[in-house]
């Protein structure tokens, strides 16, 4: 968990971690691709996989989070949870050293997000070693004490 006091501090923190893969509100999914394709495209590029192999990887990740229903949907049809999952998996499949979830309250406005984040990250254990959540200090009470 990273707590920041204001927007400037948040900006500075993001800039200090250039190696981190961001999951953020202002980095949308590719609108004309389905969730599955949005995730699969990363290994297609990074590892030069065929679409089928890349899609298998993406599907497996979705399956681990129980979100395969949304695999063929495109961005406007997604709920905020599905959209968040897609963005998160797009970062996970890249296998970056750090995954930085920026302001989860903005990404997941409709649910009590701290427990959801916890279960999601646990489900992905092994694929994201260093996953950090960046949130404002005033949201700290929402999180369960560790």
């Amino acid at each position: 968990m990273i707590w920041v006091a204001d927007a400037a501090e948040r900006r500075a923190l993001i800039d200090s971690l250039p190696e981190a893969a961001l999951v953020a509100d202002d980095l949308p999914l590719r609108a004309n691709l389905s969730v599955l394709e949005n995730i699969a495209i990363v290994p297609q590029y990074r590892q030069n996989l065929s679409y089928q192999d890349a899609a298998d990887q993406a599907w497996a990740l979705l399956a681990r989070l129980g979100q395969t229903d949304c695999a063929l949907k495109r961005d406007p049809a997604l709920t905020c949870v599905e959209r968040f999952v897609a963005k998160l998996l797009r970062a996970v499949i890249l296998q970056p050293p750090i995954i930085l979830i920026d302001r989860p309250a903005l990404l997941l406005p409709d649910i009590h997000y701290p427990p959801f984040l916890e279960t999601t990250l646990q489900a992905l254990a092994g694929d994201c070693e260093d996953c950090r959540i960046l949130d404002y200090a005033w949201n700290a009470p929402l999180y369960a004490p560790r």
């Binding site: 389905s34 599955l36 699969a40 298998d56 993406a58 599907w59 497996a60 695999a71 063929l72």
Partner: protein, 332 residues
């Protein structure tokens, strides 16, 4: 591991359709390229025929060589020789080469509208076939081609006319001469003065003519009298101081006068000739001169007339009185 479902069937048979389109395009492109190459005769074994022409205006690459209206060859290349003639390389497919014989003629025809045509004529198909690389002259027959030649000639003519009309040209000088000539013609003695070069000389001619006329009248009288007296008195005639003496003197006189006339006429003739020559050369400006020469011709006829009369008279005298043969009159 669970397999991902096949891609969403957004587009059915995407790969197949696009593949079909690409293969069709590729095949058509290659096919068309081959067709054009074939049409351009790339795949046909050909033999070369070189046509040499002075001017390859209107000949372009790809132009057909026709025989009896059928294309049997194509122009492949044009180049210029050292002496400025054009060598037209024609490729003739081997299967069509049999229409070309050693005796074949080649013509280039051009109309005012439309492309030029190279045609082959083979009158004797029994002659030996034309060998590969043969060189033949290309005969050009062209309506438009003559125009530049004609233009060149017209230009030459125009420049001649220009030289003629220049202030110091010979024509102008001639005209000036004619001017003085016609000036003289307006003198007292008109044409004669003009022709003979001065009033005094013209006067002489007129006098000579007058004298000839009077002489003729008197001779007429004489011959009448002679006729009357002939039968009566032959001795009188032949005696001294007789008619014969008179006649002799008259004849000598006539001879002298006629000699004068002849001289004058010779000169008039020369001038007349010169004037006529000048008149033919400068047709355009010669209305005056023509008139003048017509006058001269009339004068000449008059003089001739008089002389014929004299001649006639003398012949008559000679016939009637065949004496003094040495007194001979030579008429111009």
């Amino acid at each position: 591991m669970e397999r991902a479902p096949v891609r969403a069937p957004l587009i059915k048979n995407l790969e197949l359709k696009v593949g079909l389109l690409l293969v069709a395009t590729l095949l058509l492109a290659v096919g068309f390229l081959l067709y054009v190459l074939h049409a351009r005769g790339v795949f046909q074994p050909t033999q070369e025929l070189i046509l040499v022409a002075d001017d390859a205006e209107g000949v372009n690459i790809g132009m057909p060589l026709t025989f009896s209206g059928f294309p049997i060859g194509q122009v492949k290349r044009l180049d210029l020789t050292e002496d400025g003639r054009v060598r037209i390389h024609v490729a003739v497919p081997l299967k069509d080469a049999r229409w070309l014989r050693t005796s074949s003629q080649f013509t280039l025809e051009k109309g005012f509208v439309g492309a030029a045509r190279i045609r082959a004529f083979s009158a004797m198909l029994s002659d030996p076939p034309l060998p590969d690389g043969a060189e033949r002259a290309l005969i050009t027959g062209d309506a438009a081609q003559d125009i530049p030649v004609i233009m060149a000639r017209v230009k030459a003519i125009l420049s001649n006319v220009e030289a003629m009309t220049a202030s110091d040209s010979s024509i102008n000088r001639t005209l000036a001469h004619i001017d003085t000539l016609t000036g003289r013609m307006t003198g007292d003695y008109g044409m004669l003065e003009g022709v003979l070069g001065g009033p005094d000389k013209a006067q002489k001619v007129v006098h000579a003519l007058d004298r000839a006329n009077t002489l003729l009248a008197s001779l007429n009288g004489v011959s009448l009298r002679v006729d009357q007296t002939l039968a009566k008195a032959d001795q009188r005639v032949f005696g001294s101081g007789g008619v014969m003496d008179q006649t002799d003197r008259s004849l000598a006189q006539v001879n002298a006068i006629l000699g004068d006339v002849r001289e004058s006429l010779k000169r008039a003739d020369a001038i007349l000739l010169a004037a006529q020559a000048a008149a033919t050369n400068v047709e355009a400006i010669t209305a005056d001169v023509k008139g003048a020469t017509t006058d001269l011709v009339i004068l000449r006829t008059e003089v001739d007339d008089s002389i014929t009369k004299v001649n006639h008279l003398i012949n008559e005298i000679n016939r009637k009185w065949p004496f003094r043969r040495d007194v001979e009159l030579k008429l111009p």
